[in-house]
Symmetry: C2
């Protein structure tokens, strides 16, 4: 071997990245397949794009976040960067495939951001996104947008979150209109919008300071903005804004409010109005949104730093008196560690046209942050004591051998039994020792919760039989020592046993969880 | 929107990369899940590592191929490179997790090589690998190695290849031994081994030229090597080599031959000896292999350039007279476009120790090249006229509306029907127009082969009914115009219809039922 041993550097993954192994990797895969099933149920087509794009594709799409893009080194040839999200690659694909005039596509893949990692909050430099987007030129307003919200609720219900999440929505045209009405100069609208977006993490006082001191906004204009952006609600808030004559006189705000009115109607038809909070402080950082925007939050979404200044609290209280305030507000003051939003998205009608004006096609979509969803789901499973049901691999049968003096190890016989199990689709393994000790074989099976052992002995084999032992039976159980089975009926016997165990495990565990949930709901 | 339209650059994916969409993406996902199922059946644990590693992790692992590694730009912070394979990241993980002393792990992910792309041969710069590896310190020789071969056969059988593949095997210790016996100087062994590995692409004449002219080997030594490396076979070849006293006097060659003898025994126990070709020309390019090595080839694996020089052909013919020659040899002269090997791997006992001597752990594994497997599988489906059964999305029901004068479009009613279908797990879609035209709705359903239409009309709705129409029924069929169904039994009706259609499609098209099942599993 040419290369020498090298131990002069730290053995680690790069900053902000991690390995996923064992039960964590399996749980994440289960989350992926839950999400993919919802996407397919809504007619999604799978799209997979390269992990890097020509750097020019990404340029000018991400506003202040462009500095977070990872670049590939120039090794001769094209200049490329790692993708920052899955939305811009989708828009690039649409601009290249101009025959596609209407499409629902999904994409589950890693994206890359040179951000300051915060592992405990699930903020990584390499992380998964699961995106669903609807593109189409001929659609009527807010119809696809409302289906995207419906998808959000199905994903979280299928993940077992039982309504414990809120979809915050707002509209870029309403925001732009109110900034105009409040007196924000045109060229400052995007940057003031970015400041407003921080209201879920910072008190109003700090955001106002950023607007006035850093971004040079007039203090009175900032105070005007405040009267709007602290408001949250549902149809009530929409009616309140529609009654604001200054606002409805603004063409952009009026168009946004009309969209919002349609959207709430459609969400009602889908039966998900109770999951929505119309939140005027939601602005979203990215440049490319043009219509409705949304973010999904849950318990644990709130960051540890969210303590409101007294003035902002007082204002929120007065807003509360006026209007129904979303339950989420109280959570946002929870000092427990938060992980931020678990899904986010919006409408981006101009992004494809930035690549090719003739390919212009309006789009709306959602991106699920799987790493955060994973952290929350895993914590729930641990609370519910279901963690131990997650195994790092899924073996059904451990094929063992034992014998007395002159024991050969029966290696080839174990191989042949495994072969017949594998070929019947049964997950099986055996010791890689020629003469394994029986206790070591049992220990290997027990350490991974393998449910069945098949034990080979020379005398039994001579009679065409093997012993099948269900693991973990209590002392005194009539089958504690296993049962002798003809080799010809081994596969059938194992399949029967596995079916029975699956039934046993599924029934009572779910029932117990339901009861636990009901008790929790009562408390 | 801040950014301006930019159309001054070519809209494309980077060189050697491509987008995967629609039915291609679905077929590839099905291949992934077939392979994953085999890996899980053998007790594999899922591992996912970052797409980039610290550059020092990859350094000194890939021999002549190191120049193909993609580097990330130094943007301040750590120096990183994109992963070149999944083996080195696995070894790095083992070296970091010293509590793991025995593991079977699988990993499906993209890897990156700045190679000259050849799209038609499926050689890309970004491509998927599907790896299964077994690591363990206490195992007896060749037991895990033989299970890896068994996994290879299960993957290709489950993919429906029906035995149409060959596993070429060889052993690094046999090769190193024979190079010593032939008189290759110690420091030239690795580079001469790389030259031998090209024998599947180049005639002997060219390889000899590389050895003698480029690598400075004595011509007589090269001729000695030739007498060995043209040989292929099975147990017969092993016996022939064991009878070669010069060879067996070499400790390395003897150890390799003993391993090979055990391996053939175990492959026999697994019932897969007929899939194996012991091929002395197989050398594998990578530095890190230390024991058995293998490569899986199939029809279409042979490259277009593989025309042997007359001398080499004559030698191969004489070898054929001596010994049984693998059927693959004839294919290797097929001038049709080839895609190279579809899977490859081997034993690498020293790689983990290169990161940390105290973490040393022997490993053996296999890597499946999914992009090549995809090309071959897709071509087969097209030959079998099954391509048209691959849909780009999997919608079961298109929910439509129609009406005469004063037609409202029944948008909310379509939404409510879709909602009830989705919540029952049925894949459904509807037009995003407020007042869609009936022909346009049918066209949308037909263009994606949606099997059922649910048609809403105002009169039927008033009576609590909708029309269910199976698409594609012939003229004159009694249910050509659909049947009226109570809304309360719509879900049950659709489920019944879908079950019936699934059964109809499953009815054996091919004569052997299990072959039909395998093909269907792919679709």
């Amino acid at each position: 071997m040419a290369p020498k041993n090298k131990t002069s550097f730290t053995l680690k993954t790069p900053k902000g990245t991690k390995d996923w192994a064992g039960s964590d990797a399996l749980l994440r895969d289960q989350i992926f397949s839950t999400i993919t099933n919802v996407f397919k149920r809504h007619g999604g087509m799978a799209l997979d794009t390269p992990v890097f794009e020509l750097r020019e594709i990404l340029a000018g799409k991400y506003g202040e976040d462009s500095k977070l893009i990872y670049d590939l080194q120039d090794q001769g040839g094209e200049i490329c960067s790692l993708r920052y999200d899955l939305t811009v690659p989708f828009a690039r694909w649409l601009a290249m495939n101009t025959d596609v005039r209407s499409i629902k596509r999904y994409h589950l893949a890693k994206v890359y951001r040179r951000d300051q990692p915060a592992m405990t909050k699930g903020r990584m430099r390499e992380f998964y996104q699961c995106d669903f987007d609807i593109a189409g030129a001929q659609f009527d307003p807010m119809v696809p947008d409302s289906e995207v919200m419906k998808i959000v609720t199905e994903v979280f219900e299928d993940l077992g979150w039982k309504g414990n999440y809120t979809i915050k929505i707002n509209h870029r045209k309403i925001l732009d209109g109110l900034f105009e009405v409040c007196g924000v100069p045109q060229e400052k609208i995007r940057t003031i919008s970015s400041a407003v977006d921080k209201l879920d993490k910072l008190p109003w006082e700090d955001v106002r300071k950023e607007m006035v001191d850093e971004k040079g906004l007039d203090g009175a204009v900032a105070d005007n903005i405040q009267t709007y952006v602290v408001r949250k609600g549902g149809r009530d808030l929409l009616e309140y804004l529609l009654a604001d004559e200054k606002l409805t006189a603004n063409a952009s705000a009026k168009a946004g409010l009309d969209d919002m009115s349609l959207l709430l109607d459609y969400l009602d038809a889908f039966g998900i109005l109770d999951k929505i909070s119309f939140d005027m402080s939601l602005a979203r950082g990215l440049d490319y949104y043009t219509g409705v925007i949304y973010e999904v939050v849950t318990e644990g979404s709130a960051p540890a730093t969210a303590t409101s200044a007294p003035e902002a609290q007082a204002l929120q209280r007065s807003a509360k008196k006026d209007k129904k305030i979303d339950a989420d507000e109280d959570r946002s003051n929870d000092p427990s560690v938060g992980v931020g939003s678990v899904a986010a998205g919006g409408r981006y009608d101009d992004l494809v046209g930035m690549f090719s004006p003739k390919a212009q096609i309006p789009c709306v979509g959602i991106s699920f942050g799987v790493d955060r969803i994973f952290s929350i789901t895993k914590a729930r499973l641990e609370r519910e004591n279901k963690k131990n049901t997650l195994r790092s691999s899924e073996v059904d049968v451990f094929v063992m051998a034992f014998g007395g003096k002159g024991f050969t190890g029966l290696l080839k016989e174990r191989m042949q039994i495994c072969r017949s199990l594998w070929e019947a689709g049964i997950k099986a393994e055996f010791s890689y020792k020629v003469k394994p000790k029986l206790p070591a074989q049992f220990k290997a099976a027990e350490s991974n919760n393998v449910p069945f052992a098949v034990i080979l002995g020379e005398d039994e084999l001579a009679a065409g039989q093997v012993r099948v032992k269900e693991m973990g039976l209590p002392d005194g159980h009539p089958e504690k020592e296993g049962i002798l089975v003809d080799i010809t009926s081994l596969v059938a016997e194992i399949k029967k046993g596995l079916e029975r165990k699956t039934k046993e495990e599924n029934a009572p565990v779910d029932e117990a969880a339901d009861i636990a949930q009901k008790v929790k709901d009562l408390l």
